[in-house]
Symmetry: C2
DNA sequence: TTCACGTTTTAACTTAGGTTAATTTCAGCC
DNA sequence: GGCTGAAATTAACCTAAGTTAAAACGTGAA
């Protein structure tokens, strides 16, 4: 069974309005979600109230808060719907148990985790090796849809700079 | 069978002098390694000759170049021994095949990948949310051994700053 | 249409970190 | 003990990005 199939069989449908939170930093969470529809923003809230964007998650992707779900700790980030959304929700533990008896499912989990690790490695590379201007131009080239669906403020906080700085970069690179 | 056991059974021992490369950016690579002894530096070489440190890998850890090994692409980074080292080497493909028939092995792969993803997520957080001084102080608190085994130049390039900047930070935070 | 409010831009000033180069420190070696 | 070369520090100057605040722009509701 593949993951999408598994979630279809075992999952509960969740509907969210734009602006609604799926979970918040500090809460406990044990679920893994599959996004059927909508766009989400994962973000860290700093003690001083500043917000930094960890990632954007669109349709046909998984969402989970790894440390919360694996380590049974408080969520390290918050997750908010930027558009009206529909997801399927399953308990991570139950899914993980099923991988114990189902080699195919286990394989799909492996694939998903490899993909996740590669994505994170990519982002690590960008922060370590590229300057803000290059990160912006790359994002613009590779996810032009995002720039349309998301405010420039959020794009800036995803790139690790302030909205003011992003506005300047856009101006300079025109 | 767990991964260490698997590698012990199927792996080939590799010895390296300090300064020797395990693989280089741009080469093809199909192996996964287990570090028995030594310390490694994974680094990106920029077109302008600048070097940025992706990670340090010490004893009792796995090493692999995910994109190279999974996507059959050129290595995205180089891997060099900072100390005389001994590793066990297995083909990634073969291991991955074995996970198809061995649930326990599959589980151990899952655990390893979850850990990897969590590590990467952690580093992403540090680049996104913390300034260089905080990143340095945190590294110093959490991996004091590293600061002893690695030159300050390499620590700086791991933190994403120049050696000059790190020296300044040390001076200021004393 | 207009108002209100959030988003984006612009400007002026500050700060962290980069760059280059000179100097000091230190470890290994003769 | 003195020499060598790498590593680390220091200094002077430069640039990217942060901060604060004001102005301009857009969009949706009344």
């Amino acid at each position: 069974m593949d993951i999408k199939q598994y979630i279809k069989n075992h999952g509960r449908i969740v509907q969210l309005d734009a602006g609604a939170h799926l979970f918040r930093q500090g809460e406990l969470e044990d679920a893994l979600y599959w996004v059927n529809q909508g766009l989400f923003k994962a973000y860290y809230l700093q003690p001083d109230g500043k917000e930094l964007v960890k990632s954007f998650i669109a349709e046909q992707n998984m969402i989970t808060n790894l440390s919360a779900v694996v380590g049974r700790q408080a969520c390290t980030f918050s997750l908010v719907a930027l558009e009206p959304a529909e997801l399927a929700k399953v308990r991570f533990d139950t899914l993980f148990e099923h991988t114990l008896n189902d080699l195919e499912l286990s394989r799909f989990m492996l694939d998903a985790l490899i993909q996740l690790a590669q994505k994170k490695e990519r982002r690590e590379y960008e922060f370590l090796c590229l300057d803000a201007t290059t990160r912006y131009l790359q994002l613009k080239a590779e996810r032009p849809d995002l720039l349309r669906r998301v405010t420039q403020n959020d794009i800036a906080r995803y790139l690790g700079i302030t909205p003011v700085a992003l506005s300047r970069i856009k101006h300079a690179s025109r």
